[in-house]
């Protein structure tokens, strides 16, 4: 059975966004990744969302 596609991850600190995205891209089905800033006090955090198709079209 193949692995599940990676899930979006919330509360990712700025200094680890690259590593999280890197791990998501190990799955060849992931074509797009959205990195969205979450307004939080203190440390900057992001939601990192993998997509298997172009999220900018349709939907």
């Amino acid at each position: 059975m193949a692995l599940q596609p990676p899930s979006p991850q919330t509360n990712v600190p700025r200094d680890d966004v690259g590593n999280v995205a890197d791990a998501m891209l190990l799955d060849v089905r992931v074509k797009w990744i959205a990195i969205v800033f979450e307004a939080t006090a203190g440390v900057d955090q992001f939601t990192v969302t993998p997509y298997t198709s172009d999220p900018t079209s349709g939907g």
Binding site: P5, S7, P8, V20, T47, T49, Y51, T52, S53, S57
Partner: protein, 435 residues
Amino acid sequence: MVRLVSMVLLVAVGLGGCATEKMSGEQLARVAKDWSLSIRASQVIPVYPLTEDLQPGDVFLVQTPIEEQVKVYLDKGFLPLENLVTRLSLTGYAEFYRGWPKIGDGADAPPRPWQFPTPEAADADFSHAPLAAFPTYNFSVSRSGGLSVAIPVQSVPVGLNLLDSASANGTITLKDAYTYALPARRTYDAIHAWSEDNAAYLKQFEPTTPVQEGKVVTKAQEFYLRVINRVYLVKTVDVSLFSNRATSAAGSAGVPQPVQLLNIANANTDAAKQFEAINQILANAGSPAPAGAANAGAASEAGAMPPPVAVGGSIKLAMATSRSVSFVETFRRPLVIGYLASDYAILKGGMLAAPTPTFSMLEGRRVISGQAIPYQGCDADCLRIRPWLKQAGNQAKLVSWLEAQGGSIAIADLLTGNHADLRRNVVKDLIEGSN
């Protein structure tokens, strides 16, 4: 009588005019696209040409890259189903349709009991099939510019000729629609079992990497298995045409010259006779020989064989006025007009990825991988796995290990998700165990 003869000629011309060999390639492509756009609006992937030989468990190999596939879909309106790989022997209908009469597994699996209620029966009986309903579609046709909207039923060109009109608006109603399905979970299990038995076959469709030879760059290719989960069938199509212009005949331009003879409201016509005459012509159209046509028509009425219209259905004139005609076109057995499916990307080694809904993908809807999980930080085990993962061959080892655990979670989820125990075991089994 003279007018009746001319009417008969018009109908004959109409039937001849709808012969596909006379249509240009461009017109044929437009027929496919316009029909498909109508069906797509009902959230169903269109089938073109219509066929009864498509059912849940049919597996197609999709060779075009996903971007190309979307382009083809948007351009043509449908996806050619050309590479049928296998038909899975699915079970589970009895459970899924528990309590539903005449649905079972094995020989009783849909649609066979409906298509062929008994070996001797010539007529299909879909009275026990789950019903579906489609909205009425509007369209316009114009002879001068070809069909501006075309549908794969014969009634439209016939009606246009009956109206003797250069253009018309119309509606098409898909009646007697049915659907049946199996849950995607069933097809998921079946396709994975099949893929394990056919790994060598699937391996030839592993994803390729881009290759550059001089200035020529060969794009990376990905292949998918498309597994049908649900199909929609239609047995009867009602077509109504409303003339919106004067006749196309050069000698009478601007003068409405419609089917007065068929106007029941017109006391001067013998409407019943005209209806009968035209329906007789429609029933006999496409039969191989006049004598055979007569016999076939009689046999058809007796239910022994299909009506002799060649293109797949029988047309019957249902109503006509000076400005409108309505037809009922009935297929011998219900035909599949659309389907829903799941796509499985073929991965390295011929393994299959998690399924994605075909319709969402083709319509460009966002396909995210799942529910968001909170980032848990990169703990000590994560910090050991990350550099180890970058070494050649270790990603494949980790994937195999995760698959063996049964949960099959993604590597990204493993590293920074709520999986501390799993990370510990990865370190123990794969990193420390290999030392």
